[in-house]
Amino acid sequence: MSLLAVERLVVAYGRTAAVKGIDLTVAEGQVVCLIGANGAGKTTLMRALSGLLRPQSGRILFGGTDITGFSAHRIAALGMRHVPEGRQIFAGLTVAENLSVGAWLEQVPAERARRQEQVLARFPRLRERLSQLAGSMSGGEQQMLALGRALMGAPRRLLLDEPSMGLAPLFVEEIFAIIADLRREGRTILLVEQNASAALEVADVAYVLETGRIVLQGKAAEVAHDPAVVAAYLGG
């Protein structure tokens, strides 16, 4: 039984469809990665899954519930968190305030404090910066904050869009180590990545997107050895 199921999904900006009928499933506890070139429709798909875009047609089922057309805050309340492309942290708020917004749906102050401790234990760098404006941090630190902010919602399911984009190699390594940790904790992750080799290493299942359609899918280890994938995405 799949946790997240996408059926014949079409998402368009005006008249141009960016996602042209995609079927995709994610099972509980899996890490599924989406690879594809710029403009393949990966970010559009992620934005539709988290409710930021309304699909033209098709269905999105989450834990058996049809969530097609739900607004973003309702999907967040179901326990799925989207860490968007470009991080989208609140630059004018402090690091502590960003984390606090992440726990908006949690009403109990003690639980919010407990989660903040967990997040700071995972990202010690953020602890020194709690009272600093988020926009004043480096790209890598901002990505840590974006992940930490999402984890403040204690989500069992994460949509991660290009978490390593634009980061220094050291940070990229750290981000993938964290994704591996999150997976060990049993969280379900749908991951979009330009860094295909690292993504395929951490994932169970992979989908390859080209111009809004899925052209290849399978176990990550098998996709990683597909000659076309090696040529196009792994610099082979």
Binding site: L52, A76, G92, L93, S100
Partner: protein, 293 residues
């Protein structure tokens, strides 16, 4: 003489600041230059007029009730005119034009229903005669405006910076999509911000109507011109800026009227607006690309 003029200016400016506060809050969070805002000023004044004249309410109960009525109108009009555009991510110009059309229709309709004449609040609502305070002449209405401005500004700053709800409002002001991903119901926050802004406009209408004892359907439009100067000079979306610019505009107007020519006070106000935009396009206190809600 100068001290008296400065006091008059500050008291006038407190009214401008109060009015501009809601306008700048609306822009800062909802990112729309909402031209219907002036209508809530007129609406607040009229509701207070009916409550005091026809139903015998005191000004102390009529003021909050009228403010809340104006706030409720702001919620309904935001939902009718703008919510749909916001959901579709329509360009700011479309929203601006919708509010322009909306406000012109509202003014015309309210003039048709209520008549264009200037109304007066019932006499004796508040002590009318000026009295001496530290050698300066002030009226109760002026003091009420000052007091209400201070209380409402304090309450707004507390809401935005002292509560979790305020944190959500500031998050939404910066990145509405990201706020939605955090589970914040941005539609409800938009309604709340409209309500608070409408209350501020309505309270301004009651207090300034009381001060000048002149209430008519288009009073909000005259006020909007001032509101524009204040929020643009102060920086769109900048609450502290609106406060300072509001007080400054009141002082400038009174000094121009007192020492130059009262017919020139609007000309001076708009000359300042143009000069500020030339030199500091994001307002006197604003930094580009940074909005303080």
């Amino acid at each position: 003489m100068l001290a008296q003029q400065l006091v008059n200016g500050v008291l006038l400016g407190a009214g401008y600041a109060l009015f501009a506060l809601g306008f700048t809050l609306m822009f800062g969070v909802l990112r729309v230059i909402n031209l219907t805002y002036g209508f809530y000023f007129s609406a607040g004044a009229f509701v207070a007029l009916f409550l005091t004249r026809d139903f015998g309410f005191s000004i102390w109960t009529a003021l909050p009730l009228a403010a809340m009525a104006a706030g409720a109108m702001a919620v309904v009009l935001d939902w009718l005119l703008l919510a749909r555009l916001r959901r579709r991510g329509a360009p700011e110009l479309a929203s601006l034009m919708v509010t322009l059309g909306g406000v012109l229709a509202l003014y015309a309709a309210s003039t048709a229903i209520l008549g264009p004449d200037i109304r007066r609040l019932p006499p004796g609502l508040i002590a009318g005669a000026p009295f001496e305070l530290f050698g300066l002449r002030v009226t109760m209405a002026q003091l009420l405006i000052l007091l209400a401005s201070l209380v409402l500004v304090g309450a707004l700053v507390w809401l935005l910076h002292g509560t979790r709800l305020g944190l959500a409002i500031r998050a939404m002001a910066e990145k509405p999509d990201a706020a939605g991903l955090m589970g914040i119901d941005t539609g409800r926050i938009a309604a709340l911000v409209s309500f608070v802004s409408g209350c501020l406009a309505g309270a301004g209408g009651v207090l300034i109507g009381l001060n000048f004892n002149a209430i008519h359907p288009y009073m909000g439009e005259t006020m909007m011109l001032r509101g524009f100067v204040v929020v643009i000079v102060g920086g769109l979306g900048d609450i502290r800026g609106a406060l300072i610019a509001g007080l400054a505009l009141g002082v400038v107007e009174v000094l121009t009227a007192g020492y130059v020519d009262s017919g020139l006070k609007e000309a001076v106000a708009f000359a300042i607006l143009v000069a500020v935009l030339w030199t500091r396009p994001s307002g006197l206190f604003g930094r580009p690309e940074m909005r303080r809600a």
